[in-house]
Subunit: 332 residues, 2 copies
């Protein structure tokens, strides 16, 4: 057989190949390895157990400006964000930590404190783990949660006519990374989105309990990639309104020299760990009342694809690009 390096085929096609090997599931596993943020297990009469795992590395996931406490916070936060994406309440977090042998013990302890503080912020804890040595600092987190069965949210369920919403600001983490990489002085409020992301656990539980949300996921790979994922699972298209994208005022200021870039950033950069979700039209008013939520467009027929209307009325196709771990062309 011909040699094909994984770098040639792209992250999502590789995930498809591997998920296919794992496709057979025993009874009681509602959703397995594949498109959603968590696996879903039917563990008792009234609620599902959801579980997710994410591996982070020094080189690709932790900007050099991150403190060890922030590295720990981030490692818990990305996993809790996946729990939030299903509408679930966190039950616990596990952490497998691979440390270079020259790591200062105090640095390792700060990582642990960051993880603990993030878990505690969301009324949960680090309940287990593994420590060993590794060439590169590597942290693999696992988070568990529970959700009442009727409140489980997945990427499947969006209907034509539903409204599309996001929590928080769009592209804030991308702007922070841009500032760090280009030595631009950015305020803490911008840097925080990248260095101390906020998993939307509380918002997610409220949204799930209201019953108006039809599909949900987090925006860790960017809004554009998330829309493509929702589109595939729900078999729908999307029409966004550019002017409705929630931009952080400090980011607008930071990027004022290039507003075109600003909107690209909002659509195509990842790392925000906000929620993107679809809402039945009759529920949108109640949902927006929760605060810190913006309506950015609506669900359309799948054949209309994914597009964005600019302020001048022109409509552009949203490209299938964003933050992918393998950082290579995706040819699906």
């Amino acid at each position: 057989m011909r040699y094909t390096p994984v770098s040639k085929i792209g992250e999502r096609p590789l995930i498809s190949l591997i998920s296919n090997i794992f496709r057979e599931l025993p009874d009681g596993i509602i959703l397995g390895a594949g498109p959603d943020d968590c696996a879903v297990i039917d563990i008792k009469e009234s609620s599902y157990l959801v579980v997710t795992t994410d591996m982070l590395h020094r080189m690709t996931d932790f900007p050099w400006q991150m403190s060890p406490w922030q590295i720990g916070w981030m490692s818990a936060a990305v996993n809790l964000s996946d729990i939030a994406a299903m509408g679930a309440r966190p039950l616990g977090v596990l952490a497998a930590i691979g440390l270079p042998i020259d790591t200062d013990v105090a640095f390792a302890e700060e990582i642990a404190r960051g993880m603990r503080d993030c878990a505690r912020e969301y009324d949960t804890a680090i309940i287990g783990g593994d420590i060993d040595t590794h060439d590169e600092l590597t942290i693999c987190g696992t988070a568990l949660g529970t959700v009442p069965k009727e409140q489980l949210l997945t990427r499947k369920g969006a209907h034509v006519g539903d409204k599309v919403c996001v929590t928080g600001y769009a592209g804030a983490a991308g702007a922070a990374l841009y500032a760090l990489e280009n030595d631009i002085n950015a305020p803490d409020s911008v840097l925080k989105a990248l260095l101390e992301p906020t998993p939307r656990i509380n918002e997610a539980m409220k949204l799930a309990s209201m019953g108006h949300v039809t599909s949900m996921m987090d925006t860790s790979d960017g809004i554009a990639m998330s829309l493509y994922d929702l589109s595939k699972s729900s078999e729908v298209g999307f029409r966004l309104q550019e002017k409705m994208l929630p931009l952080q005022p400090e980011v607008e200021e930071l990027m004022s020299f290039n507003r075109e870039n600003l909107y690209s950033m909002a659509l195509y950069t990842g790392g925000d760990f906000e929620l993107i979700f679809t809402v039945r039209p009759e529920g949108i008013e109640d949902v927006l009342k929760l605060g810190n939520i913006s309506m950015i467009g609506e669900v359309v027929h799948q054949e209309k694809s994914i597009s964005i209307q600019k302020s001048d009325g022109t409509v552009l196709q949203v490209e299938r690009k964003g933050y992918e771990q393998l950082k290579i062309a995706d040819n699906t």
Copy 2:
């Protein structure tokens, strides 16, 4: 504060430091990060959820002779072994896989098939995961299981007078590694212990349901280290009988030039993924009837420490050494 690299303090002291940071647990977490193989969560009336995570690396955990299928098998097996250690039934396995970018896609698929086949062997499945790129092949597995509350087994519970038992052979994986490292021709039956370890799920569930077992863990770090861990949790000592250590006949043959080394191997090498457990005296007969189980000694008072009686009657102290990930002096 003075710089202390993690390589200086040893794996178990580092785990103690980090576990201490994670010591506060919310309600419903019965056992958290710390001495046991799994965290234990009170998830419903009749049973506990147990969960464990382990990170494995190309350089330290996968001998070069391992096939990609065996790498996958091993990654699932080590986590299932931790589930077994608690007496639990597997519920599912998650796998976060970090692949070097030049990994052949076919190699990655074989890893996935190995994981799937191991999970399937124990009536479970790979239910979720994460894939990204990494300098060194890194696989972080997470396994979940459930156990009826009254059947949960931990490292705490051994009493003076209990019998000490192990499943399978002692030191088989160590002998295989010795053969590989010294270019000695070893039969497949020996190599398999190292390259395709068998998590003792079925034995563990039977043992847990019988009610005679008072404490249990797996022997992945070697019998000696496991006894020290059981000793610390249960506050007891142990007296082993050297002649009762279950040696694989092929290993005896392989090491026939050096029988002294053979017993060291059985005590101090890891990688076996057998179970070590203590049994109430009145239950020992029933337990041994299960087969593939050997009684190797008994529980004594803690002040008697951990010792082994040799065939000639002399008694030696069992040293606190074995396979530790950090492979450095442990000074607790």
